[in-house]
């Protein structure tokens, strides 16, 4: 083993984000006596997120190389995931700024925790060693648990954070159990050594057990059925900007690691494909079905996030066959980026509605969205755009993303899965368009649901998300090319 200081350059995005978090924590305790106004923190966090984005995009062209004696890797796939995470963090910081200010809830550690969790996500996408994966997973998860409980008033944030913490720790324990089996089978925690053991065909029982347990641990993190029970309560109880960040960032990092473990660890044989196909069927079905009766937009978006995990699992399943593997990985990256932009935008609009509700103590219900188009036509138009993107209607990012995922599934001979995905996404139209119906067609019943003031920064973030969603939908070429270049590491 040898240490090469150049390896640190490979994990630059994670280092930048962690450094930003430390800067914020230090400034929080040393600047507060002189500067009680904490608004600068949002912009410092956004600047570090932007630096992380720049670093991950700058490394994109570099050849793939192992870091730290094979504990991590610096390749296009990880850089794209890191870019998605940093962009999600950047937009979420801007949304959170307006949200927290209007609720007068700007307390110290929000942005530091968000930066810590994002640095865990970036490392998670790069890790190729089960121990490194576990550490990054915990860095990400612990910070997100705390963010869920950030608004301490009321029972729902506490319930959300507690549920997430208990079930998340349980999932981490299952992951560790699987990692222990993998270690027992291969005598190493490196995914490459595990792949060698799988190829040699020895210790098959241990290998199967570890694959099932590791997949179960990550199925929890990506919110796949039947490990989805926590999602509605957590997404509902957490502050809306945090929910958007969770849906975009945690999902991207967890899917990247799931792919890394299955493809790099359990190898080309694709024996794991049946497991992922079954999970994908279940997740698409249950997520879309349970979203239909939801009256709360946040809960609806939570079930929709489960459904989208199902579509992403279709791409993962398509990676089980070697011929279209690079295409499927590209589709997965494109889907993660498009879902991230859409869901952050959608939760930013929810945040604007929610802060009024939070102050008036009302529950989140579709009726508070009625007549939004009359007073805030831009907000209504943006929400409608995000809804039709989530539903997968052209000319939005969601449509192109679904198209590429289902195409890669057909290439991988998973035609029934692709057909099932198309049918369930048509069923999804109902509950997405219901929001649009309320926004445009149901007359306003209550007082204005939007609280004035501090709308500018949230508006900017929403406009940015809408721009990305339209851009990826109308001119997907450059994004698709980026995703394909990132996915090239899985090409043979």
């Amino acid at each position: 083993m040898n240490f090469n200081p150049g390896d640190l350059y490979g994990v630059l995005p994670a280092l930048l984000l962690a450094a930003g978090a430390l800067v914020l924590l230090t400034s929080e305790v040393f600047l507060r006596p002189v500067e009680p106004d904490r608004r600068y923190q949002a912009w410092v966090a956004a600047a570090f997120a932007f630096a992380g984005l720049w670093a991950s995009l700058a490394q994109l062209g570099d050849p793939a190389q192992p870091l730290f004696a094979g504990a991590a890797v610096s390749d296009g796939f990880a850089h794209i995931v890191a870019a998605v995470v940093c962009a999600a963090l950047f937009l979420s910081c801007i949304v959170a700024f307006s949200y927290l200010e209007s609720l007068r809830a700007t307390r110290g550690e929000f942005y530091a925790l968000a930066l810590f969790s994002a640095s865990g996500m970036c490392l998670l996408a790069q890790a190729t060693d089960l121990v490194v994966i576990f550490i990054s997973l915990e860095v990400m998860s612990l910070a997100v648990y705390a963010l869920c409980a950030y608004l301490r008033r009321g029972k729902r944030p506490a319930e959300a954070a507690f549920k997430y913490f208990i079930l998340g720790s349980f999932a981490s324990a299952i992951f560790l159990y699987g990692a222990a089996f993998a270690f027992g089978a291969s005598g190493s925690t490196r995914l490459a050594d595990l792949a060698a053991t799988v190829r040699s065909g020895s210790a098959t029982t241990l290998v199967y057990a570890s694959a099932a347990l590791l997949a179960a641990g990550f199925a929890f993190k990506v919110a796949a059925v039947p490990f989805h029970m926590w999602v509605p309560d957590v997404y509902d109880g957490a502050p809306a900007p945090v929910t958007g960040f969770m849906a975009a960032g945690v999902k991207a990092a967890a899917f990247a690691t799931l792919v890394r473990i299955l493809v790099s660890g359990y190898g080309e044989g694709g024996r794991w494909r049946g497991l992922i196909v079954a999970l994908a069927y279940l997740t698409m079905l249950v997520g879309n079905l349970l979203a239909v009766p939801q009256r709360s937009v946040k809960r609806m978006l939570a079930y929709s996030s489960i459904a989208h995990a199902g579509y992403l699992l279709v791409a993962v399943a398509a990676m089980g066959t070697s011929a279209p593997r690079a295409d499927a990985a590209g589709a997965l990256l494109f889907y993660l980026a498009s879902y991230g932009a859409t869901v952050i935008g959608a939760f930013a609009v929810v945040a604007i509605i929610e802060r009024k509700l939070a102050l008036s103590g009302l529950g989140d219900d579709l009726s508070s969205w009625a007549g939004l188009s009359e007073k805030h036509p831009a907000l209504a138009a943006a929400m409608s755009l995000f809804m039709i993107s989530l539903a997968g209607v052209p000319p939005t990012a969601g449509f192109m993303a679904k198209l590429t995922v289902f195409r890669s599934a057909i290439e991988a001979d998973l035609v029934p899965l692709a057909i099932f995905g198309v049918i369930t996404s048509v069923a999804g139209l109902y509950y997405y368009l219901r929001v649009v119906v309320y926004v445009y067609m149901v007359p306003e019943a209550k007082a204005d649901a939007v609280q004035g003031g501090r709308l500018l920064s949230a508006g900017l973030a929403i406009a940015g998300c809408a721009l990305i969603v339209l851009w990826m939908g109308v001119l997907p070429g450059s994004f698709a090319a980026l995703a394909q270049s990132g996915a090239a590491v899985f090409g043979r």
């Binding site: 083993m1 240490f3 430390l22 924590l25 929080e28 305790v29 089978a185 005598g187 210790a203």
Partner: protein, 129 residues
């Protein structure tokens, strides 16, 4: 089977654990069932360094203890990391990684020290804020 070969060095540990457990259970059971019990009032009192108990043993603890316990765990785990590092430092040096291991541990401890500064300034160490 390779996995069993891998675990076989731990067999003596397992046997020792089993032996210790059985022995404890045996001694405990023998004392309970065979030992004579003649309890008098004077035997029930506290002796040597004990003192008479006051109140219910199920009393409430101040919630402040949780913060102290949490901080203790953080810095306790730090020493858990330092110990193996200290015992392996010569091996690192032999492999030409001495400076790397040293700088690595310094940066780890610097980060933790920053955490301590944060905790201190935040007032988490004040008992009565």
């Amino acid at each position: 089977m390779r996995a069993l070969d891998y675990l076989s060095p731990y067999l003596p540990v397992l046997i020792l654990l089993l032996f210790a457990g059985v022995l404890c259970a045996l001694i405990g059971a023998a004392a309970t069932f065979l030992g004579p019990k003649r309890i008098t009032a004077i035997k029930e009192t506290a002796f040597e360094c004990g003192s008479p108990s006051i109140g219910d043993s199920h009393s409430r603890h101040s919630v402040k203890f949780y913060l102290v316990a949490l901080l203790f765990v953080v810095f306790d785990v730090e020493s858990v990391f330092i110990y193996p590092w200290g015992s392996l430092l010569r091996d690192f040096q032999a492999e030409g990684l001495g400076w790397f291991a040293y700088v690595e541990m310094l940066s780890f401890m610097a980060t933790l020290a920053l955490g301590l500064v944060y905790v201190w300034r935040k007032g988490a160490l004040e008992w009565n804020p």
